[in-house]
């Protein structure tokens, strides 16, 4: 698939999404948030949320899943993102953490209401005006099947299987969150084409605020799985089947941290 970035800066809630210019260096899907590359090796917390940390500067970025999932679902594989929040909201544990270690609120890139990224809904019907496809054609998948299971602190078992797919087959997702599930979501170079579902995902709040059993939580979880597996892994083609438990980022990020990858760059 062709690597895709934004053609101009987009303010989307509390983040600014900016064009990516280093395709010839990175040559794979890559989102850089507050100067920290969102890759599995940089993830330092993955339970109720996902945080990344630059190993050199020790700067930390909180709630990156609410950047990675939405971007990939609208077909953006490469971008530079900065947080733009300037006010503290100490009710949020991420803000208290950032304050403790001397970082500003802009290092918390998730929205305060726990939604994925509703500000992007206004542009999904006119994405052509906002995205630009590069000349880089890349294939990245897992080199062999990843099967990972874990148990959350409440005793719920989770299971994920990530299977390799051939070039141009895209991503297929099947997600179960307790009693709710959805099968065969297809994500291609252009993102998720089911616009109704896309809007539901972008506006869905986190299960940790509304309860794990609601349908909205499932939509939110689809965004999170997209972020953790496809976003952090930089995958272009794979089949993902997941049965989520409660603090499910431990399962999804745990799996992508264990994955081995295969990558081919066709043109760049």
């Amino acid at each position: 698939m062709r690597l895709t970035t934004v053609s101009k800066p987009i303010q989307a809630g509390n983040i600014l999404i900016m064009p990516f210019t280093e395709f010839s260096y990175f040559r794979e899907p890559r989102i850089i948030i507050n100067d920290i590359e969102a890759i599995p090796e940089h993830v330092v917390k993955y339970d109720a949320r996902v945080d990344i940390m630059d190993p050199s500067s020790k700067k930390r970025c909180f709630l990156v899943e609410h950047v990675l999932g939405p971007l990939r679902l609208i077909g953006i594989t490469n971008a530079k993102v900065v947080g733009t929040d300037v006010n503290w909201n100490f009710m949020r544990p991420e803000h208290r953490f950032a304050y403790s270690i001397g970082l500003s609120p802009r290092f918390v890139v998730g929205e305060e209401d726990g939604t994925q990224r509703p500000a992007l809904i206004s542009i999904i019907d006119s994405l052509d005006q906002y995205v630009i496809k590069s000349e880089c054609r890349v294939y990245k998948s897992v080199s062999k099947e990843v099967i990972y299971e874990n148990m959350d602190p409440f005793g719920y078992r989770g299971r994920i299987v990530i299977s390799p797919r051939d070039e141009n087959e895209g991503i297929t997702l099947t997600v179960r969150l307790f009693k709710n599930y959805i099968e065969d979501i297809h994500i291609t170079e252009n993102g998720l084409q089911d616009k109704t579902l896309l809007k539901k995902i972008l506006s869905a709040r986190t299960p940790y605020l509304i309860g794990i059993d609601s349908e909205e939580s499932l939509y939110h979880a689809i965004g999170d799985v997209t972020a953790d597996i496809i976003g952090l892994g930089g995958l272009t083609d794979a089949d993902i089947k997941v049965e989520l438990n409660f603090f499910y980022h431990a399962l999804t990020v745990g799996a992508i941290k264990r994955a081995q990858f295969i990558k081919r760059v066709k043109e760049c």
Binding site: V44, K45, M53, W88, N89, F90, M91, R92, P93, H95, R96, F97, Y99, S100, I101, G102, E112, D113, G114, Y208, L209
Partner: protein
Amino acid sequence: MLEINSYKKPEDVINSYLKLDPIKYITKNHWHMLRYGRSPLVAIYIPRFHLTSELTCFDYEYIYRNLAVIKTIENLKALKDPEVDIYLSTEKSDLPEDFYADFPSIIIEPTDLNFSVVHKGEGVVEILFKSQKPHILSNIWSHEDLLTQIYDVIWGIINITHKYYPVSRGNDIIFRDVFIRGAIIIGVEHIRIEPEGDVKLDLRLLIPPEATEETIKSELGNRLKSYKDKIEIIDIKITEPAVHIHPDKKIHEIATRAYLETFKKEPEYEWFPFPTVFNRLARTNTSLLAVGPYSPISLDMCDRKLFVDSNLLELFTLFLTKTILNLLNS
């Protein structure tokens, strides 16, 4: 029935601790200097180590912390005669603040293994309740009306609500605490009803850093919108400011490394929800870290037996021992 592993009574825990003969500074003194000819290299504070006569929920909340310190002292004593001060706190006035000003100091609190470098502060507020009626008890109907109005106002003040977060009463205690830890918490200290006179409410506050008397006033105003004609805020005082130590000292670096080695992950930072000895030490010392095992507090904890998680206790003790030894050798 109360039981904590092999400890049947709180004094068993205390006695175990005392048998280890820690270097205690219960009053201001320079004993360490006299004994070793130089200042100690590390200090450990165990605030509110109360010498209780019977086991209470309070002891439950702190039992992990106390056991961890006992085990750490055992570890250290097995290795060498440590130049570590264990500060056994019984009363606030005992704190030899100046003496410890420059030492790397670890304050053991139930932080759930988080690193804490921010402790909330405290304040007081005096509110005048503007009642039009005399408060004589002989008019029981009038008095009952007054109490109802006071009740409504108090709940208006202490209730926490939020448009996104489950912070109000009745929500799950764990998820609620995730959010209210950063809020201004308001409680009632006194209600004074003078016969044929004023009604005054004295409130006690827990306040986050950055909060000023103005922000507290604004928060009170928000919570009391519907009562604004009935009450008047007379006085707001911050009695103990919230503190924030930037974690860039050697103690933080060493503790982070020890945490990574022990728990195989980066430490997380969280605020401590009320002021402790940390707030007072932070006035003169920036080499501070508050850390400790979790507090097994829950609404029903007094009704059930508590068994200590030995694995967690071992890990925390290992982390603490490593941190202290690395500080001593640095």
